[in-house]
Symmetry: C2
Subunit: 333 residues, 2 copies
């Protein structure tokens, strides 16, 4: 029904089953030195995050994650206790999201740790939410603050100072960046929000923010053939991220647009249901931020900035539009 | 229903589906320098074999492979053409076995190639064939010759002479080892045989020979609480393997018992149905070799050798029994 190219594949239930459910399948890989290193993530964090990234992909289809299979290629130098800690983190995430780990293959690796996780889930037949349904007039939303994971990674790399010692959470707590570090190490996918939103039938597209808000918005825009206009003042800004950005002399917008790995959901919803959906999520303690609108036009993503700011060509302008680059998140590169 | 510990997991169809089918899930990983190197396998061979190993796991449960998800961590130095060739081989295997590749994640790897494949299949509810059902009196069978893949690897490592140039198939053809090399590079799992055998309802245990005949027989013996007595004279011996073993001064029995990666099936079947099952498979052009019997006793695997041979303690003995070590296949180690 839907193969490579979305967050997860959706396949028809094979003959012999009722058509009431479809399968949703996703795979994600984490490679040491590419997605993390010994300083930024402890073993248990790697286990948690490898599964969470897949759980988020299933959520981004409106699906329910059910089963996981794990492939771990372990550096020869590792002691068994390190592998156990990796699985402890993975099982903690599995328990949190009601996922049964039903298969695993542990092999040795000549050098780096490689963890590939596959998650199999289900979705009500015909109800998977794709990237391609955004329509002009829809509201654009996210289900949580963005840029925190990137800020956390920035802190970790700075705190590690090129060393290989895992940066302790206590160091982040002392620096007021614990929430950012945990956003990077222990992402919490929006599974409940996804199910509630998908069930409304008014959500027209859905992506998880794995590669950065701009990149994910571009995916929806191109798949749907629309323009997404995001309003800078409405982007949910984490207080601790703003404080850390200020101290670091970095513009928080860079992290928010291009940071990635937040694993919140970005989607579009029929405008007439936006307020009610937001209220329904709020009643369950789940955030939903309206951050823009879908417009007709060439596929693209624009950021509406409110002004005037110094340096704007028209000093009196109330707002201006900036086209956002399609570039995504490049991890350590 | 059945988690880690067999060839593949079997999970209940989730609520909302009929109980007519269950899911079968398997994952396998291939790591460069651990499972293969540049001399022993071309890129397309790696792609084929990574999928075939999983297809074989699904077959070993009596299931039908349906969907695959692929995680490839590609060395930075690779040109795109090499990745394409890897996927070409994988897709060729997918087409051969009717598997739809529905998901993929390609990441970079700092050094070695790592390929992890997950296959999702189905099995008629309650009909998955486990390792644990072998009963005294059952016949033991395999669905093809064994040891060929190990002999092929032996040839490849010798032909490469420590170099990194992929050994061309022409070199194997010239040496009369092409069938052995192809058994190593392009294993052909016994999917049709598995389905036919599982449908009979008389197969009491089933494993695929990924880690060597002795190791797989031990798994069945321990899971079922029985002894497997294999008869050396009935083990299917490939002519080209025997010839290559003779030339190399190696005992073919070593490859046959401990070689691994043959991806044929080892199983047990009610004795009264053995001949009929063999005939049914033969009618479809599929081999089935009866190689021993299941006996009561402590879990273990014995090889019955027929004699007399020089060096036997009783020169007049017609046969003797040797306990087989539980050791499996260690790839390059």
């Amino acid at each position: 029904m839907l193969g490579i190219g979305d967050d997860a594949a959706v396949v028809e239930a094979p003959r012999g089953e009722s058509g009431a459910l479809q399968w949703v399948l996703a795979v994600d890989t984490m490679v040491e030195t590419v997605h993390f290193n010994a300083a930024t993530m402890a073993e248990a964090d790697v286990g948690w995050k490898a599964l969470a990234a897949n759980v988020s992909d299933i959520a981004a289809m409106g699906g329910v994650p059910r089963h996981a299979l794990v492939s771990v290629s372990v550096p020869r130098a590792w002691e068994p206790a390190r592998i156990r800690r990796l699985y402890d983190g993975l099982y903690a995430c599995a328990e949190r999201y009601g996922v049964a780990v039903v298969g695993g293959d542990t092999t040795s690796s000549p050098a780096q740790l490689v963890v590939a996780v596959t998650v199999v889930g289900t979705v009500t037949a015909g109800k998977a939410v794709r990237r391609s349904g955004a329509m002009p007039g829809d509201a654009v939303f996210v289900t949580g603050p963005i840029g925190m994971a990137a800020a956390g990674l920035h802190f970790l790399l700075a705190a590690a100072g090129g060393g290989e010692q895992c940066v302790p959470l206590a160091a982040a707590e002392a620096a007021g960046t614990a929430a950012l570090v945990q956003a990077h190490r222990r992402p919490a996918p929006s599974v409940r929000a996804a199910r509630m939103l998908a069930a409304r039938g008014t959500v027209t597209s859905l992506n998880d923010v794995s590669d950065g808000l701009a990149s994910e918005a571009w995916e929806i825009a191109e798949s749907s053939g629309v323009k997404l206009a995001l309003r800078e003042s409405q982007l949910p800004l984490s207080g601790s991220m703003a404080a850390y950005a200020r101290r670091s002399g970095i513009a928080p917008l860079e992290w928010m647009l291009y940071g990635g790995e937040d694993y919140v959901l970005l989607g579009t919803i029929a405008a007439k249901d936006a307020a009610e959906a937001k209220a329904a999520l709020a009643a369950e303690g789940l955030p939903m931020y309206m951050i823009g609108t879908v417009e007709e036009g060439n596929a693209g993503v624009e950021l509406i900035q409110e002004g005037p700011h110094s340096g704007w060509s028209q000093a009196a302008a109330k707002e201006r539009r900036v086209s956002l680059a399609k570039r995504g998140y490049n991890h350590f590169e």
